[in-house]
């Protein structure tokens, strides 16, 4: 009698294992040695991230060469009977996740020390959130997806409320938790409906089911899909599920805001790819319309609500809602161009966003840095900081020659290829509206008289990240072909049929 061995291959899981072990070790260390090891924990977290990122990168490069030479890529591609997928797509997403986490930690060292937040738990929670995101990126099954999502979300709920003595921070954590639980409920409900209709929680199984039924969806299945879209829309803060974002962004400690603005968004987009693009890929026409509406609403709210904001974190919350709207246009457009454009957009978005938050964190001293008005006259006192901030703002507004333009260009190209003229025209008009509030920051920095002395120091790690993000934005704005080819390969590995 042959013994059926379970399909367990730990190699694709290696980055996750590293992060999980690292997280546990940090937890033990901080419990054991308390405040004495504080600094070391931060350093070792960053080292861990660098090692993991390097590993993922290595593997991605190996994949890339394998793909180019058409070698069999079946080995180490998936494990646990397909519940965990380690394809190029997951590696691309993991690189973005690791980059955004690492960069967030580097820009927040000062803030953490100043606010006495650099306890061991902080780094542990960040690592677990990252782990959750990485699991989501590799999910081949709704169970894996949900596991990752909850791990990520729960860690971030705690992080949002991390400043226990601060009322706003507590409010942010609680609000995020309650609304996030509701969204998780929606998602679970959707998953159970889908399971009821198809008898499987595997994305490949759903795809197979839809293939068999020639794209016909039962009411239950369609309902389940809508619930899942709603649940995931909440995580990326797309309208009409965006209401939590401004409050949480404002209340959470700024490094966490920076973290929330990038990491969970990328992870949730990865989940959308797994569920909708892969699982429900053959019924793209059925969910494309929903995403178009969600995208337009997000753009509308992102553009107009941001104008009225006086707090820069709130403004960036609305701005991120707008960015999500653009990315969703690409998903709604579909096809190679559309799916690729979203990955390009996300790659560019994390650098713009981290760069902006790096400036916000530099400016964040006692009393100033939260209000947009605090930026008045920055150009006179700190011309370089003002210059970098304006590069990020112009890039976010999508003005060439900065990378943000390339992101928007690819999205709109895909929209037009898919004949979504109305969405494309609305999208560009909202981007013109959006330019207004990005310009306002430039206006404050350059046209107004300085209200503060702006004597704050810029830490070495912040300088490093500012340099990196600026160079990346300039480089990708002019020569984005590396990014686009990586994004293309990701889609090819996710959907070989395209």
């Amino acid at each position: 009698m042959a013994v059926q061995l379970p399909d367990i291959d730990l190699l694709p899981l290696l980055p996750e294992i590293l992060i999980a072990l690292g997280g546990c070790t940090m937890l033990l260390l901080s419990a054991w040695n308390g405040t004495a090891t504080r600094h070391k924990i931060g350093m070792s977290t960053i080292t861990l991230l660098v090692i993991t990122a390097f590993m993922v990168f290595q593997r991605a490069v190996a994949f890339k060469h394998g793909m180019n030479t058409d070698l069999a890529l079946q080995t180490h591609l998936s494990t646990f009977e397909g519940m965990f997928v380690g394809d190029f797509f997951s590696l691309y997403i993991k690189m973005l996740l690791l980059l955004s986490t690492g960069m967030t930690l580097l820009i927040s060292t000062d803030y953490l020390q100043r606010k006495k937040m650099d306890n061991g738990e902080f780094f542990v929670l960040i690592l677990f959130a990252l782990l959750g995101g990485m699991v989501m990126a590799s999910a081949g099954d709704f169970m894996t997806l949900y596991l990752g999502l909850e791990l990520m979300s729960l860690s971030i709920y705690v992080l949002a409320a991390y400043r226990r003595d601060n009322l706003r921070s507590n409010e942010a954590g609680l609000k995020y938790f309650i609304l996030g639980s509701l969204a998780s409920g929606l998602l679970l409900y959707g998953i159970s409906l889908i399971y009821g209709a198809t008898g499987t929680t595997m994305f490949s199984g759903i795809a197979h089911h839809l293939h068999e039924s020639l794209g016909q969806m039962s009411g239950t299945l369609a309902m389940g899909m809508v619930f899942v879209i709603s649940g995931l829309s909440f995580k990326i803060a797309a309208a009409p599920f965006q209401m939590w974002a401004p409050d949480v962004y404002e209340g959470a400690p700024t490094p966490i805001t920076a973290f929330m603005a990038v990491m969970p968004k990328v992870a949730a987009f990865a989940a959308i790819y797994r569920v909708l693009v892969y699982g429900f890929g053959s019924v793209h026409d059925k969910w494309s319309g929903i995403l178009q509406i969600v995208a337009l609403l997000s753009l509308l709210i992102g553009a107009f609500a941001a104008i009225a904001q006086t707090n820069i974190k709130r403004m960036l919350a609305y701005s991120s809602i707008g960015h999500v709207g653009y990315a969703l246009i690409g998903l709604a457009a579909g096809g190679m161009a559309g799916y690729q454009s979203v990955l390009i957009y996300l790659g560019i978005y994390i650098f713009m966003s981290i760069g902006t938050f790096a400036i916000i964190l530099v400016l964040n001293q006692e009393g100033i840095g939260e209000q947009i008005e605090d930026y008045k006259g920055l150009a006179q006192k700190r011309p370089l900081l003002a210059l970098l901030m304006s590069i990020f703002m112009f890039s976010m507004a999508g003005i060439p020659p900065f990378a943000g333009f390339i992101g928007k260009l690819y999205v709109f190209m895909s929209a037009i290829q898919a004949h979504m003229y109305f969405v494309a025209i609305a999208g560009v008009l909202f981007s013109a509206v959006g330019a207004f509030y990005y310009l306002r920051i430039v206006k404050y920095m350059y046209f107004d008289v300085a209200a503060h002395a702006f004597v704050m120091p810029v830490s070495g790690s912040s300088k490093f990240i500012l340099t990196v993000t600026t160079l990346v934005i300039l480089y990708w704005g002019i020569l984005p072909s590396t990014l686009t080819s990586w994004a293309e390969l990701s889609i090819k590995s996710l959907l070989p049929s395209l």
Binding site: Q417, L429, L479, S481
Partner: protein, 494 residues
């Protein structure tokens, strides 16, 4: 070669950015040097330009975004080369004009100005749609800062208005552009010129482009950003705005609308003629009533650009060449007039026409220079304005006699507001104390005007060197614009 011309100013800006942190004085010379170098390089283009062919010359091509077929493609023909030279010519003059006036953030000012020059030259050289769009939009950033940082009292409003108007137009152009290029399968402008599209498709694309170009020209009724931007911008900013940025819109018509969408262009001729006539007559009347010197010239710009669009859409050699020449003339004359306003503004810090009067007594040289450019603006025979206006009216007359007649009234009105303005500013009795002690133009200021005066008379008496570079290209453009393309191989889209 073209990349060298395009990016020399940007390299200068980079040098200023990296070095000369505490030395704004030296950075001025660096800026001047790089802009003069650019001008010399552009003259080299003129000398190396083959007059016999209508093809694009000095071509450069390299892969840019491989997956989607977007290339870095540069080249000039007889339509774009004059603008490249004009840009390279006006920038050193602008720098000279702002030599002493700009006191705060000198380095930043120079960087913005040089970056602006680079992007504008890029617009005129780009032969790939995306590349064109990148330059077209990137140019907004330095101009926004020039108006907003170094402008007048109401500069923030003006800077916003300028930016958002232009951006609003450009994003629609982006959609039209992507629709056109994706359905044609190429981003190359020369290739697109050889393709045919059905009329309804052409009309949609034309409208998308039209919004953007009309804002830039600016055509009535989307011209309202211009007076604000001009009045608030620093003198050199106004010069570059009037001299070059306004030409980008009309250049867009010549480069894209006419050759690529000829049927739609002909379809819209009555519409464009109508808007141009309103611009010519209405803004001339508005100009007549202005009390602010700069605003008057700004409105006169709108009126003059009305002539340009009239000439371009006359669809004949005279009108089109007149249109291009008149753009160059306007670049010289309006630029010079803004410099003239700048001279008195620097001394009296007012632009109110009623505050002047009798300047001729204290400033005879100034009055003479002013006279030259007023006459050129009015279109007196012997000045460049005459050649341009004459060719345009001739071309329009061939195309449509009634329109030409109405436009001729605009010429009279133009003479009226310019001469009346001149009379009020220069002649009469000196009433104010500060006017009585005003100083005449300095040698530096004369140096800024001298090359412009030379050009006024040169084009006025012997325009052939300027016209001959456009002959071949305009002929080709006319053939393209007069071809019926809509009926041939239809490309179904709508």
């Amino acid at each position: 070669m073209l990349s060298l011309v395009t990016f020399t100013p940007l390299i200068g800006a980079l040098i200023i950015f990296l070095g000369f942190k505490n030395n704004p004085g030296t950075s001025k010379y660096v800026a001047m040097l790089s802009s003069i170098l650019t001008f010399l390089l552009s003259l080299k283009l003129y000398l190396g330009f083959d007059l016999t062919t209508s093809d694009f010359q000095f071509l450069e091509e390299s892969v840019w975004l491989p997956g989607v077929g977007i290339t870095y493609r540069m080249g000039v023909d007889g339509v774009s080369l004059p603008f490249v030279i004009l840009t390279a010519f006006l920038t050193p003059i602008c720098l000279l004009a702002s030599w002493e006036v700009i006191q705060k953030h000198v380095r930043e000012y120079l960087i913005a100005f040089l970056a602006l020059e680079s992007f504008v030259i890029g617009v005129f050289c780009a032969l790939d749609f995306v590349l064109f769009y990148v330059f077209w939009e990137a140019m907004l950033i330095p101009m926004f800062l020039i108006i907003g940082v170094w402008g007048g009292a109401n500069r923030v409003y003006a800077a916003y208005k300028f930016f958002l108007y232009t951006l609003g137009g450009s994003v629609l152009m982006l959609i039209a552009m992507l629709t056109l290029t994706l359905s044609a399968g190429t981003f190359s402008i020369p290739e697109l010129m050889g393709m045919s599209f059905p009329l309804s498709f052409q009309i949609w694309i034309f409208l998308g482009f039209f919004v953007s170009f009309a804002v830039k020209v600016p055509m009535w009724p989307v011209h309202t950003w211009l007076p604000d931007a001009h009045v608030q911008a620093p003198t050199a900013g106004s010069v570059i705005l009037a001299g070059i940025l306004l030409k980008m819109g009309a250049y867009g018509f010549l480069r894209f609308s006419l050759p690529i969408l000829p049927d739609a262009s002909r379809f819209f001729v009555p519409f464009i003629f109508g808007l141009s006539l309103v611009a010519i007559i209405y803004t001339a009347l508005v100009a007549l009533m202005q009390t602010d010197l700069k605003k008057l010239i700004a409105y006169s710009s709108v009126s003059h650009m009305g002539f340009v669009t009239l000439g371009i859409f006359s669809f004949n050699q005279q009108g089109m060449e007149g249109g291009i020449l008149q753009m160059i003339n306007h670049g010289i004359v309006a630029g010079a007039l803004f410099l003239i306003v700048g001279v008195v503004y620097d001394r009296l810090h007012t632009r109110d026409i009623a505050r002047f009067g009798g300047l001729a007594h204290r400033m005879p040289v100034y009055a003479t220079i002013f006279m030259v450019f007023t006459m050129a603006s009015v279109g007196l025979p012997g000045t460049n304005g005459f050649v341009g206006e004459f060719l345009i009216l001739l071309g329009t007359f061939i195309a449509n006699k009634a329109v030409a007649t109405v436009a001729a009234i605009g010429v009279v009105l133009g003479a009226a507001y310019m001469l009346w303005m001149y009379k009020r500013v220069v002649f009469g009795v000196m009433q104010h104390e500060d006017v009585k002690s005003i100083l005449d133009v300095s040698p530096r200021e004369i140096a800024t005007f001298l090359p412009l005066i030379v050009l006024v008379f040169w084009i006025g008496f012997y325009p052939e060197p300027f016209l001959k570079i456009m002959h071949a290209s305009v002929e080709l453009l006319l053939i393209q614009a007069n071809t019926v393309k809509a009926g041939t191989t239809a490309l179904a889209m709508f």
